[in-house]
């Protein structure tokens, strides 16, 4: 579209558009910058409402304080462990099922798809789930987080769509050579699917990294929490031992610590984000094609 659009109206539009989008960028980034500034500021400056985009009374004291809390690191490690284990299990389950669903000749395929898709629109709800997890004895264990979220139907459909798009000839040739279905999946299909696998791994990893409610609901011990629950307890003011230095009031100190904990929780995502963002976009588009 590089032709006759030299009208005055269009030029005005472009300026307005640039202003609007600049506004969008600023509004999106502002809270991050603010939180970083707060995390590096002196508590009195924060309480006085002086901290906005630049740290006032620059200090690392709050970081030191948060880092000196062993629970924080235990919870951080929990998040890491939960994310890795849950993502691994979810990948195995999702890949297997998506591969099965991608085989159009399979008898009962519609039924198998239906079972999965129906759960997108109707779910048992919080209370029956809670009773189920409790009576299975999964409370206070990693399995309360991992097992109930082992398959995301959205990810399943993205993967199924991808598998359906693979050329059938390779698999047929391998089958003629006497390779088993398992062998075909492992040695033919998966190596061809690295792009979609990376995408889905990221989808799962981010959702497990960010999840908090399952842990909040099913775990009752401090040393089992993921870092999101640690942060949740901080911002809900329900945590123990929040006082850095005797000179500050609890409220301001908590504000300080909140900011630091938030920054530390978000950093891994911010660091990885620029490199993996395009995989996410690809995944959403793959999913969108399928509807």
């Amino acid at each position: 579209m590089v032709t006759v659009d030299r009208t005055r109206g269009y030029r005005v539009f472009r300026v307005v558009n640039a202003i609007i989008l600049t506004g969008v960028v600023i509004v999106t980034l502002y809270p991050f910058v603010n939180i970083v500034a707060r995390s590096l500021s002196d508590e009195f400056a924060i309480r006085a409402g002086k901290v906005n985009l630049v740290p006032v009374g620059f200090t690392f004291r709050t970081y030191e304080f948060v880092a000196s809390d062993p629970t924080f690191w235990i919870n951080y490690r929990n998040t890491l462990v939960y994310t890795v284990v849950a993502t691994a299990i979810a990948m195995v389950m999702t890949t297997c099922y998506a591969y099965v669903l991608s085989k159009k000749h399979l008898k009962g395929r519609t039924f198998l798809i239906g079972i999965a898709v129906f759960t997108m629109f109707f779910s048992g709800g919080l209370i029956p789930n809670y009773i189920l997890i409790s009576s299975l004895g999964l409370k206070d264990s990693i399995w309360a987080i991992v097992l109930p979220n082992a398959v995301s139907v959205f990810n399943l459909l993205v993967m199924k769509a991808f598998f359906e798009g693979l050329p059938a000839e390779l698999e047929e040739a391998a089958a003629i050579d006497g390779m088993s279905t398992y062998g075909i999946l492992l040695r033919i299909v998966l190596p061809l699917s690295k792009a979609v696998l990376a995408t889905i791994v990221l989808f799962y990893a981010v959702s497990f990294w960010n999840s908090w409610f399952a842990a909040f609901l099913y775990m009752s011990q401090n040393d089992l929490f993921p870092v999101t629950v640690y942060l949740r307890n901080l911002i809900a003011g329900a945590t123990t031992g929040t006082s850095v230095g005797a000179d500050a009031t609890d409220m301001t100190v908590a504000t300080n610590i909140k900011s630091v904990t938030m920054v530390l929780t978000v950093i891994p995502i911010l660091v990885v984000y620029p490199f993996v963002q395009r995989y996410f976009v690809k995944g959403v588009m793959l999913g969108a094609v399928k509807g």
Partner: protein
């Protein structure tokens, strides 16, 4: 795909697609019995066992577990309740004024979210699409997707910091000579806060699908419109918008389907007893009733009601869109 299949398919039908374009004939004529299917594809079926177990245990068992909405449940007793009580719990919540309060709140927040968070990604996508430089386009997109990747806890934390008495919003108010406002303590502000933070978090990510749909619009349509003398606005109106309509309708149906489940996690993190009058929704109410106060049956009845309404909503939205614009999810 096993060996047997390739062998028994090849001799008589060669290439079925090209040989028989008639779709009715293209389907394999003799329908396989289950015994044949199992013998041929048992390896495939075996891969489905674990995922099926997952769905049965963690998705369908809880649906059955909803019978406790009609049975008296005691913690520590039978998982499926002790005795039938019929519609007692349903009647109970229908006569509960706080239920109608949270019902209204749910609908209001749901409608506001739909009104503000459904159209804004379309507008933003159109604006981003008008950007010329590839670099700058990438940058705006990357920045706007970012909030999507945050944990809800972090979003809630950011909201609290931005709106705290010493936060940026109140700094602005003070600079303008106003008294600071404790936004999160005031029921009157909750919906505004909820909807705007929702927009902050979801708008950018929502543009992806529309931007993808925009690239699929045939360039020739624009050319034809230009030859007919259509201005840029008219091109957007007559070519771009119709081009992304199927996408928009699909997303609208999905949004309507999740309408009743409005941001449970975020509300749970942001509300407090002071803001219950506007902030408390069905899901948070049943959370407090069930998990906090141990009225499992009562809460399950409310949850079932919510889920049924959600299903009804998505089905009717789907039906309406199929009848009117010809787009549907299934």
């Amino acid at each position: 795909m096993s060996t047997t299949r390739t062998i028994d398919a090849s001799p008589d039908t060669g290439d079925p697609r090209r040989a028989r374009p008639d779709p009715a004939r293209a389907k394999r004529p003799p329908r396989r019995t289950w015994r044949q299917a199992l013998r041929r594809d048992w390896q495939l079926y075996s891969l489905a066992i674990l995922p099926l177990l997952f769905f049965v245990i963690f998705r369908y068992l809880p649906m059955i577990g909803n019978v406790i909405a009609f049975r008296k449940f005691q913690p520590g007793g039978s998982v499926l309740g002790e005795e039938w009580v019929g519609l007692r719990y349903v009647k109970m919540f229908l006569n509960d004024p706080s239920f109608w309060q949270v019902f209204t709140n749910t609908v209001v927040i749901g409608v506001l979210t739909l009104l503000f968070c459904f159209p804004t990604p379309i507008v933003l996508a159109l604006l981003i699409n008008e950007l010329r430089g590839r670099r700058i386009k990438r940058f705006v997109q990357s920045v706007s997707y970012l909030p999507h990747f945050l944990s809800m806890v972090v979003v809630a934390g950011l909201v609290m910091e931005m709106l705290s008495v010493d936060g940026p919003v109140n700094q602005l108010l003070r600079a303008a000579g106003n008294e600071p406002v404790a936004f999160l303590q005031e029921a009157g502000w909750f919906r505004t806060i909820y909807v705007s933070s929702e927009m902050w978090q979801t708008v950018g990510w929502g543009t992806i699908i529309y931007l993808a749909a925009l690239t699929t619009i045939d360039e020739q349509l624009y050319e034809a419109a230009r030859i007919d003398g259509a201005s840029r606005w008219r091109q957007v109106w007559h070519v771009t918008l119709p081009g992304i309509r199927p996408t928009a309708v699909t997303l609208l149906i999905l949004n309507i389907g999740t309408f009743m489940a409005v941001g449970f996690e975020k509300i749970l993190l942001l509300y407090n007893p002071l803001t219950y009058p506007t902030a408390d929704v069905i899901s948070t109410y049943l959370y407090r009733m069930g998990i906090v106060s141990n009225s499992f049956s009562y809460a399950a009845a409310i949850g079932l009601f919510e889920a049924v309404i959600g299903l009804a909503l998505v089905m009717s939205a789907n039906l309406i869109s199929r009848r009117t614009v010809g787009t549907s999810l299934w």
